[in-house]
Symmetry: C2
Subunit: 148 residues, 2 copies
């Protein structure tokens, strides 16, 4: 499993040691902005992540506490959900989206970009609330199942 190496005490360097892995961040992007949940969902993203890299990065994200896995109800599948630590990445992802959108004028998601420019703080808050609610529901479901 890809490990996060810390190269200095600088918080930006620490963040980069994690962000240096593009694939991990693209998985988190898919969970934040594209409502993706399962292995198959992530596999179908435009960037074409390889199955072995996806397996590895999901394991890393779980070990590092960014995501938890849960049984998708009614289906024999595993879902992945962001934790508080994962959700805390929203402002960084949003700034990257704004910067990328400004550079890469042909990019998709024009409407999201316009909404973001108008009310960045509102978009961040809304995403964080939605994802925190999802995490809390999944956590409590899993605790209940464990107790029953």
């Amino acid at each position: 499993m890809k490990e996060i190496k810390k190269r200095s005490e600088c918080p930006i360097s620490f963040c980069l040691d994690f962000f240096g892995d593009k694939w991990a961040i693209l998985i988190i992007r898919d969970m934040i902005l594209n409502d993706k949940t399962t292995f198959g969902d992530f596999l179908r993203s435009d960037e074409g992540i390889a199955t072995n890299i996806l397996t590895d990065r999901l394991k890393m994200l779980e070990t590092e506490g960014f995501i938890v896995r849960y049984p998708v109800s009614g289906k024999a599948r595993i879902g992945y959900c962001l934790t508080e630590k994962g959700i805390s990445l929203i402002p960084v992802i949003i700034e990257m989206a704004l910067w990328g959108a400004a550079q890469n004028i042909n990019g998709y998601r024009k409407e999201f970009g316009i909404q973001l420019k108008k009310d960045k703080a509102g978009v961040i808050k809304q995403l964080a609330m939605k994802l925190t609610e999802k995490y809390i529901t999944i956590k409590s479901d899993m605790e209940n199942n464990f107790l029953n």
Copy 2:
């Protein structure tokens, strides 16, 4: 020279394709937050960048329009200065700093972190103004030298 490969039309993926290179971003961090200018300045950073990587990344940043080189007045040395494109990365770098600082509680720069939490927009504006002023001065100096 390391090239930036674009893997999809997503602005976050585009940003990551650039950010995927940790070293380039650490150079930009040093220019934004640590007032570093010369090859020797960057070489002395805590992360211990190798000279061949530093040479390569400075060339890439110059080619991609993030930085310009200029003669350091009175010294037989070259300085590097952020352009508008480089300066546009400040909000991303600042969000990374905030996130890294929240995760990495032993990190340095505690005072900067406190200031950032209090007035993020103000810090970003101040840094952008300072660096834009520097860029404009250097650009006009170079244009004048070229004309004389």
